[in-house]
Symmetry: C2
Subunit: 204 residues, 2 copies
Amino acid sequence: MESNRNLCFQAILAYLFSPMRKLTHDEIAQKRVKTDEVETAERIPVTVVVDNVRSLYNVGSIFRTSDGAMIQRLVLTGYTPQPPRKEIEKTALGATISVPWEYVKNPVDAIHSLKEQGFKICCLELTDRSRPYYAMHSSDFPLGLIIGNEITGISKDIVAASDFAVEIPMFGVKQSLNVAVAYGVAVFELSRLWRMNRSGPCPP
Amino acid sequence: MESNRNLCFQAILAYLFSPMRKLTHDEIAQKRVKTDEVETAERIPVTVVVDNVRSLYNVGSIFRTSDGAMIQRLVLTGYTPQPPRKEIEKTALGATISVPWEYVKNPVDAIHSLKEQGFKICCLELTDRSRPYYAMHSSDFPLGLIIGNEITGISKDIVAASDFAVEIPMFGVKQSLNVAVAYGVAVFELSRLWRMNRSGPCPP
């Protein structure tokens, strides 16, 4: 009993005074969802409409990020390219398999369908009443998040059809972020928000 | 007096019941720092060390994101490519001008220099004791944030030399995010944290 306590104490001391250690590939893999578990794994109640995103690399990156946050589904609309394309795979790295997706030509149809299912619609866009991305609420779930074209953003009619908009507060000279980066910032906030409200208060 | 009140009331009603409106390019430009103000504009006390990031497009994206969050400085180390390169400009879109940067061959030299200036050193990496990215504190400023290679991440010796590590909690099958996306998630949390602590409580 006494020797067990000593061993435990020594192990804690060793951990506290050892340098921080990078995890190995296998250690990380153990923390992840396995490929054969992905169909039943938990997903956050967020469907993302990707309208008129032109770059194949951005679409691939959006798939990879969507896997990381484990959103429900991607809806590709307009001229957004669809898998399989080798340029999408270059940045998606297999996430086109783990993230459910569909193609709907008209984004307004996709939005109406989400509204009928009880989703609130949020566009990631600079509007006359956008909230900061960190001012979303747990009452905003289930959420349909819209992201748009690299240059022109989300079209005016989709903005007008949305329930609200969020933006990433910007402090430099550039107008906006790359769409795949902006999406990452917004969707990981949604991931944090959903999981925090499901499992108690946020860590400090 | 009475008619002014009526006009004001009507304007509020018109705003509340009008559809949300996308900002124009000029309206957004008015909210941004002007090119000739960039040298004196406020920056968050964060210097980012970009070690061995191979892709020119990722480096450009990191510049663009750094402009958006208005960090102090980028330190490019190892084989991270440096401006001017047309592929960097393709994704930086001019942010190589607005974001101060320097090249230091050895990342450990850059880290030691930051430590001497009183910076805490944080690596964005999966380690045996990484915190979630949203568990950084205002006491962590001024902060040296390290980001590393697209495939292999941050080298073991840099991890061991860091004060702490943060990670983006991942819930899918993929091991990690694209480095430019992960950096965006982390640095905008730092931007939010710094500006929140400087100007009162966080919006709801």
